[in-house]
């Protein structure tokens, strides 16, 4: 094979002197190549393979192989909550992105409200029978700011096989004061859905009507942690599984908060689990500062109550505004 003569530095010099401008390589029978060399000292045939720039495809291949190697050997880090950044960025978010971009064609407005860094509590409306809107907020914030918003989830979700595991690895944790405080103290962006099951499990005729915002626990947390509240209105998720009826006995049997009947589920079986391709808008409202109230604010029930109402009204107004602005649920 083409190999530069490596028998010693002196020898090369003499041979080079004897045949200037000749290729340095040796041919397959061991004789010196007599072709004219270019500036590299080799002829075009014996040009050593240069490490060429990897193509885009090769870079993807490198990433995929490196990811597989890291997963196979356990060479990745998870935080104490179980957030697996490597898996989230390499698998979970790329899997959700087509839903965000192509299926529901989500437009985001008011993204200047999303802070680049530092703690913030995102308060969102909740709808759609399955909590896919929460996942879309996660994708949306990552698309805009490259930061991972930490979703606060129901204990039911965390107790389910596969779902619970992926929720934890994606950065979700239990919707409780302790976990929310710890995340905010660590400077994370946290998303909470105060309507909970009352929100995602409401019948279709009540769409875009906000349910009770729990007992305002999220406001207490925001006051204690002194972080801004960012109201978020999600329009479009109500139409993905329009819930016509709720089969309560079946729900009780399975231990679920509701058992939905939609135009396609359960009549079409697993096919009915495919969400409808509605057109979504996610609006991020102006941050509501809590710093003025001091951390004692959290023990003032009246203040907590008023702030809860204020956040709820803000989101309701944002929902109405966006509903008026849209032509049709699907375009």
């Amino acid at each position: 094979m083409a190999e530069p003569s490596a028998s010693g530095a002196e020898v090369i010099k003499i041979e080079e002197a004897r045949s200037p401008g000749r290729c340095q390589a040796r041919t397959s029978d061991g004789k010196r190549c007599r072709n004219r060399a270019d500036t590299t000292g080799y002829c075009t045939t014996h040009h050593p393979a240069e490490p060429s720039e990897p193509t885009a495809l090769e870079m993807v291949l490198q990433d995929v192989l490196a990811f597989m190697r890291r997963r196979a050997t356990g060479d990745y880090h998870v935080d104490d909550f179980g957030f697996d950044k490597d898996l989230t960025e390499s698998v979970l978010l790329p899997a959700l992105r087509p839903l965000f971009k192509n299926y529901w064609r989500i437009d985001q407005t008011g993204v200047s409200s999303i802070p680049e860094t530092g703690p913030a509590l995102f308060v969102c409306n909740h709808s759609g029978t399955l909590p896919l809107d929460a996942l879309m907020v996660k994708v949306g914030v990552f698309e805009e700011r490259r930061r991972h918003i930490r979703l606060l989830a129901a204990d039911l979700a965390l107790s389910l096989p596969i779902v619970g595991e992926l929720a934890r690895k994606g950065g979700s944790t239990l919707a409780c004061e302790e976990d929310a405080m710890r995340l905010l103290d660590g400077g994370e962006a946290v998303a909470v859905f105060p309507e909970g099951f009352k929100g995602i499990g409401k019948p279709f005729r009540e769409r875009y009507r906000l349910q009770r915002f729990g007992r305002g626990g999220f406001v207490e947390v925001a006051l204690r942690a002194q972080v801004p509240i960012i109201p978020v209105a999600i329009v479009g998720a109500e139409e993905i599984f329009p819930m016509i009826a709720n089969l309560k006995p079946l729900a009780r049997l399975f231990g679920f908060p509701y058992f939905p009947v939609t135009p396609t589920f359960p009549f079409l079986g697993p096919l009915g689990m495919i969400p409808l391709p509605s057109k979504w808008v996610i609006e991020y409202g102006e941050p509501i500062s809590t710093a003025d109230f001091g951390s004692d604010g959290s023990i003032d029930p009246m203040l907590v109550f008023n702030l809860t109402d204020q956040v709820r009204d803000t989101i309701q107004q944002m929902l109405y505004r966006n509903l008026i602005g849209r032509r049709n649920a699907f375009f």
Binding site: P54, E58, L61, Q62, L65, A66, M68, R69, R71, A72, T73, G74, D75, Y76, H77, V78, D79, D80, F81, G82, D84, D155, L158, S159, L160, P161, I162, G164, E165, R168, K169, T173, L174, C176, E178, D179, R182
Partner: protein, 347 residues
């Protein structure tokens, strides 16, 4: 504190014995008395061994005659197999602690009590916060097995603390021990050739290196650290990640069959899987170690991951492949797939 005289229960078990060894090397420790029902298996130089059951009223005589000022209660056992059945285990753990603390209360010279407890008292439930601080209690108290014992043992200890406010009471809630020598259900689990895991679940685990556990106990004996502390290495590992680090093969089991498989494994005598350990393999458990670092002033030498890697390295676990092999394969596959065909060279 001046010269100390220490009594260690459970001196024939791993932690008790190693703690005695550690204290022997300290000239400030004047006397060490080890109490257990079996002879210690490790080499102890100046530790006096008393073969006694802590449920025996004789223990008060040992405390007084030995002029003990520091009591380390390390004989709470975590596995029924290690104690000869569950009812015997409960007897040793709960009744033993009750009797021991009753005797300790009568001993005026006592200045310090160190209790070995466990983060198992937090249980493993999806309805609980992801990270437990020492003040938190699980929404539902553990009702079975070792976790229940640990809760009761801690309650007795706190009761003792109220009745004897002059005694410094330190409760150490240890995470899962791991290391080159210690033998626990979890270390045995990781030594199985094929590891049954619950399908669709991946618990977060914390590990404490055995050397760090000894150091924490030693520090609690030597210095004054009143209070309750979670003791664990920093960080967490998922079970799946630990299995990969160990180069093992997981065998996911559907949850309805988990108990059957656990019973089968138990019958082989390889691993003693109790129901609460299956719960642990579903939801895991993490304790906050901020108080240990800031108030107790002790940071374990090994993180959770380092402790586990030390365990893997020293036990020479049978791996299916090494990380070097994986790196080699990565490069080989890349070179194979990215090799451009000859005709493409001119493009």
């Amino acid at each position: 504190m001046a010269k100390q005289r220490v009594l260690i229960t459970g001196v024939s078990r791993f932690l008790g014995g190693r703690l005695a060894q550690r204290l022997e090397s300290d000239p400030e420790i004047e006397g060490i008395i080890g109490v257990d029902t079996d002879e210690p298996t490790i080499d102890l130089q100046r530790t006096e061994f008393v073969r006694a059951d802590i449920r025996n009223p004789l223990i008060i005589k040992v405390l007084k005659a030995g002029e003990i000022d520091t009591l380390v209660h390390a004989s709470v056992v975590a596995t029924p197999a290690g104690a000869g059945g569950r009812s015997n285990m409960k007897e040793i753990n709960v009744i033993g602690t009750l009797q021991l603390l009753a005797a300790a209360q009568k001993h005026e010279g006592l200045k310090k009590v160190v209790m070995k407890s466990s983060t198992a008292i937090y249980g493993s439930e999806p309805t609980d916060p992801a990270i437990f601080t020492e003040e938190m209690a699980p929404r539902s108290q553990p009702r079975t097995g070792y976790a229940k014992d640990a809760v009761e043992v801690e309650n007795y200890a706190r009761g003792f603390g109220r009745r004897r406010p002059d005694v410094t009471l330190t409760i150490l809630r240890f995470a899962n021990f791991i290391g080159p020598l210690i033998d626990t259900p979890l270390t045995r689990y990781f030594q199985l050739p094929v590891m049954p895991t619950p399908f669709g679940f991946d618990p977060r685990m914390q590990f404490l290196h055995e050397d760090d556990a000894i150091e924490a106990l030693y520090s609690a004996v030597r210095d004054t650290h009143p209070g309750t502390f979670n003791v664990s290495g920093d960080g967490v590992l998922y079970l799946s990640q630990a299995i990969r680090l160990a180069g093992k093969v997981p065998m996911p089991i559907l949850l309805p069959f988990a108990n059957v498989v656990a019973a089968a494994v138990r019958r082989t005598g390889l691993v003693d899987f109790s129901p609460e350990q299956i719960r642990f393999l579903l939801y895991g458990r993490v304790g906050d170690v901020a108080r240990l670092k800031e108030v107790f002033g002790f940071t374990p030498q090994h993180t959770t991951r380092e402790a586990f890697e030390d365990f893997v390295a020293t036990r020479r676990l049978a791996r299916i492949f090494t990380s070097e092999q994986a790196e080699q394969w990565e490069q080989d596959v890349y070179r194979f797939l990215s090799r451009r065909p000859a005709w493409a060279g001119s493009i």
